[in-house]
């Protein structure tokens, strides 16, 4: 083997893997072939470190309309001949290098995955993680990412209905930018990204192909990067206008029976898109690169095959159907060209005009080596988990001062300054807007609604990768249940550090284990997902961050509730626990512990059985029209929960229950399986009966009303004061 290490490094292929390529081909690959292998054997496309762990999830998905990982996105049937298409995807490293375009094209990519299934995209969510906003460089990344999402999403007319934004030093220089897209489709219209038979044409539509994004999948997404690397050319540039007309034209074109399949050209460009189609179709493929419309002159086959130019789609078209298809794209002034055809062979044959450049077996390209991961628990984690939280000093400051410090911290403060830059009303389906627990969309032509949420807590997953992931799933589902909807499916965004490090391997193994367990307990299958590895900040792995996107169904969208306290005199009732207040261990991995004590410690806990019962009670109470508002306790504890329901409802509240335990844990402990609801005093008996039937502890702890928020005899603060601080602090930080 005479291959140079630098060449392999550029495409993130190891010496060992190069040896495997030679074994499979029984010869050395050409430069072009090496490019194909680099892309398809990249971590991003090949899932080398996660495929074995995800196998259980994919086996569990056998009964779904589309098996996990089989198509561009996952599908869940919600009845009445309607299916939902959903997927989350990361664009972390591009966003670190070029925040605006990185984030914009992240949105663009996930939208294409959804309409590739034939579905009309109806919602976008973003799960974002950044370094602390006080830092100038982080501020640049935050504002760039947010404007990129705003620029791309708003132009396309898909509402951005929610997500989360989280700040921590662990994401400094390596932000997490995960975008989720949801589409709606009739069951019998679901597309598959494959060809029917040999002779079918491979048709490329959309943007011309340029030199942008070469090595995006291999070089950028599949290894750690240094800030001074010359990687900007690996970031693509987006054109949302073209994407918008590409959606409309593709959705029009698939109505033709001549169009057999539709596939997004995403990471690794035509290489990955075309070869995935061939593999699914169990056919070979010939591609003539000279037929690819080019944006720049003198592009060679290597560049054309690996370019990640945005806003391109591949179609498989019946052999006599090209002209009919082209007519539709002509109407929209979109380029449409046949670049190859499916063949009765098992290889990918690349031509440049008459000249044959390569012929490579599909199975070699699509079967990278898969690695086993270590399950050894690192010792440092034992030490963090075993911290005795009861020994942490209770602050001597006035509790109100501590509350204000928490309320104005970037993770707790209102995110309005960010989500008001995204259109969340377009398509006129948005019933619950961003800013609450989960959002809710009605489905036109049906009484149903879908509730959407993304959730993760990197800190808790760091402290216990398995329990932290159980909590992430539980919380995504809890948010959905708080609107009245029942969680039915999940999508996962795995964001981890370098998988070649043993600690990260342990985190991955444990977290995916948790995901499998939670998915089963909630009867919510994981229908799609994405893995982004090699996320590091200053040489350290980021917090393992398994982002969960959840979707729930409500039979009648009119029956929803939101988080807002409504009427003077309503009772405030805790579901899931017999006290409003948190306990000492609820401080594990809490915001309070980090903000006030600068510690990330403790052993997070969750009782999934209680969780399931509590969520069910919440949904029943909403369905029976007893519960008027519902909001789950999460970051910042019950104090933040009550304040958010007060501010959004424009009315005060008083929690009467006496505080017996330490007050900091009581107010700021992040108890799981706890939902705070408000009900009319007349309904307390009915709610109690319902709770007893479902074996869920509940307790009436206070009342809605007045213009202050009062926590027992500890804190009294006017709504006006707390609202102003909560509302404006992040905006001021980002200026």
């Amino acid at each position: 083997m005479s291959i140079q290490k630098e060449i392999l490094d550029e495409i993130a292929i190891s010496k060992f893997e190069y040896g495997e390529i030679v074994n499979k081909l029984k010869r050395e690959p050409s430069q072009l072939e090496l490019g194909l292998f680099g892309a398809l054997w990249s971590e991003h496309c090949g899932y080398k470190h996660t495929k074995k762990l995800l196998k259980k999830l994919s086996d569990d998905s056998n009964d779904l309309p589309v098996k996990l990982g089989q198509e561009n996105a996952g599908v869940i049937d919600i009845g009445n001949n309607i299916s939902i298409v959903m997927k989350i995807e990361s664009h972390n490293h591009p966003s670190a290098i070029e925040p605006f375009q990185g984030a914009a094209t992240g949105v663009g990519g996930i939208i294409r995955d959804i309409f590739a299934m034939g579905a009309r995209p109806v919602a976008i969510l973003n799960s974002l993680r950044f370094g602390l906003p006080e830092n100038k460089k982080n501020k640049y990344i935050i504002n760039g990412v947010v404007s990129g999402i705003s620029y791309y999403g708003n132009c396309i007319g898909i509402p951005n209905v929610g997500g989360e934004i989280y700040f921590s030093k662990t994401y400094e220089g390596n932000p997490l930018v995960n975008a989720m897209c949801v589409g709606i489709i009739n069951n019998n219209k679901i597309m598959s990204a494959k060809a029917d038979q040999s002779g079918d044409l491979l048709v490329l539509v959309g943007s011309e192909t340029g030199r942008d994004g070469i090595h995006g999948a291999s070089g950028l997404a599949s290894k750690t990067f240094q800030e001074n690397d010359e990687l900007r050319s690996a970031v693509q540039v987006g054109n949302p206008f073209l994407e918008k007309i590409l959606i409309e034209s593709c959705l029009e074109a698939i109505k033709l029976e001549e169009v057999v399949g539709l596939q997004d050209c995403g990471a690794a460009g035509i290489t990955s898109a075309a070869i995935e189609m061939a593999e699914r179709s169990k056919l070979g493929l010939m591609i003539d690169v000279s037929m690819i419309p080019q944006r720049e002159s003198k592009m060679n086959a290597y560049e054309l095959m690996l370019s990640e130019s945005q806003e391109r789609m591949l179609l498989s078209v019946k052999s006599d159907g090209f002209n009919k298809v082209k007519n539709i794209f002509d109407k929209w002034d979109i380029k449409c060209e046949t670049i190859g055809k499916f063949i009765d062979k098992s290889s990918i044959d690349i031509y440049e005009g008459e000249k044959k450049l390569s012929s490579t077996p599909v199975s070699a390209l699509t079967n990278p080596p898969l690695y086993d991961l270590s399950k050894n628990k690192p010792n440092w984690l034992n030490i963090l988990q075993k911290t005795d939280l009861s020994k942490i000093d209770i602050p001597t400051n006035a509790p109100k001062d501590i509350l204000l410090q928490i309320i104005t911290s970037p993770n707790i403060a209102s995110k309005k300054t960010i989500f008001r830059q995204y259109d969340h009303h377009v398509q006129t389906n948005t019933v619950i807007e961003p800013g609450g627990d989960a959002s809710l969309l009605r489905i036109k032509g049906s009484s149903k609604g879908i509730s959407l949420s993304t959730d993760s807590n990197g800190k808790k997953i760091y402290l216990d990768p398995k329990v932290g992931t159980l909590i992430a799933v539980a919380e995504a589902c809890r948010n959905i249940s708080c609107t009245g909807a029942k969680p039915v499916a999940l999508t996962d965004g795995l964001n981890f550090g370098d998988p070649e490090k043993e600690d990260v391997q342990y985190q991955l193994t444990q977290s995916i284990d948790g995901l499998i367990q939670a998915s089963k307990i909630f009867s919510a299958p994981v229908i799609s997902g994405n893995a982004s590895l090699y996320n590091e900040s200053n040489g350290n792995s980021i917090y393992p961050t398994t982002i969960i996107g959840g979707i729930g169904i409500i039979e009648n969208a009119n029956d929803h509730v939101n988080i807002k306290f409504k009427n003077d005199g309503d009772l405030i009732v805790v579901l899931g626990h017999s006290s409003a207040w948190g306990e000492t261990n609820d401080l594990s991995g809490s915001e309070y512990l980090e903000i006030i004590h600068k510690r990330v410690q403790g052993q997070p806990e969750i009782d999934l059985d209680l969780e399931i019962r509590t969520q069910k009670l919440c949904r029943l109470g909403i369905k029976n029209k007893i519960i008027k508002s519902a909001h789950d306790v999460s970051d910042g504890g019950v104090a933040v929960n009550i304040i958010e329901s007060c501010i959004s409802g424009g009315i005060g509240a008083r929690i009467n229950e006496e505080i017996i335990n330490r007050w900091d844990a009581a107010l700021f402990g992040e108890t799981q399986s706890k939902i705070i609801v408000s009900i009319s005093p007349d309904d307390i008996n009915e709610l109690t009966i319902l709770a007893n039937q479902n074996s869920v502890p509940i307790k009436s702890v206070g009342k809605v009303g007045g213009d202050s928020v009062i926590f027992s005899d500890l804190i009294s603060i006017t709504l006006e004061e707390v609202a102003k601080k909560w509302d404006t602090s992040l905006e001021n930080l980002l200026k």
């Binding site: 918008k244 008001r420 995204y422 009303h425």
Partner: protein, 235 residues
């Protein structure tokens, strides 16, 4: 009524307008593709230019759309006194086509803004507001990065003197000042009509506020005014 909704490449609120007028208000609606040469606008009782990013808003918002083949027909249609509503990008296109005075520049906060805005009805003697009480505050979403209405002083004075400013951004109590202005528009202008009163341009999206389940019905008051004006016997 028979309402034509114009679609350019990049338009995105045409389906929302269609749903609000057809499903909610039971009017007959039809999409008009901007390049369709066979379209006869005389078949329509009103035309809507919906919101979105026609041609990606490249160059300037609405500028490329204002050169599209349909615009010549729309000018003839307007000259005959027929009703036209331009919403958001539609308003920008009407300004670029000189069917309405002034222009819409970048929001003074330099950010895209999506939120429920309050607009005060400053003139209810128009076909677009006749069913609304004067000075009523409507809650209607905005969604734009370039909604900052600007015109020279002479034009603004004319608009003021002729009662052509029909919507102004205000707070929920109707107070009009810089704090209730989401984009920096001169005199808090949210919507204007032409002198003749048959062309309305407005930045807020009435089609996004026609049903309780999505947050409110104030936008529908504008559509209902138009429908009522059309069905009045003296028409």
């Amino acid at each position: 009524m028979n309402i034509g909704i114009v679609v350019y490449p990049g338009t995105w609120s045409e389906k929302d307008c269609f749903y609000s007028l057809s499903n909610v208000n039971k009017q007959f609606c039809e999409f008009i593709w901007h390049k369709d040469e066979d379209t006869n606008l005389e078949n329509f009782d009103a035309i809507i230019l919906p919101g979105g990013f026609s041609y990606g808003d490249f160059l300037r918002s609405g500028s490329i759309a204002s050169l599209s083949p349909i615009m010549e027909k729309i000018k003839v249609y307007a000259d005959k006194g027929n009703p036209i509503i331009g919403i958001c990008n539609g308003f920008q296109i009407l300004c670029e086509s000189n069917l309405l005075p002034g222009t819409l520049i970048r929001n003074n906060n330099l950010q895209f803004r999506c939120e429920w805005s309050n607009i005060k009805v400053a003139n209810n003697e128009t076909i677009f507001t006749s069913s609304i009480k004067k000075n009523k505050i409507l809650s209607i979403p905005i969604s734009h990065g370039e909604g900052n209405y600007y015109a020279d002083k002479k034009t603004i004075d004319e608009l003021e003197n002729n009662n052509q400013i029909i919507f102004r951004y205000s707070d929920r109590n109707g107070y009009i000042d810089q704090f209730s202005n989401p984009n920096g528009s001169v005199n808090n202008i949210a919507g204007i009509i032409n002198k003749r009163g048959n062309i309305l341009g407005m930045m807020p999206h009435p089609e996004k506020a026609c049903e309780e389940i999505i947050g409110g019905t104030d936008g529908n008051l504008i559509f209902q005014s138009l429908i009522n004006a059309y069905s009045r016997p003296d028409k």
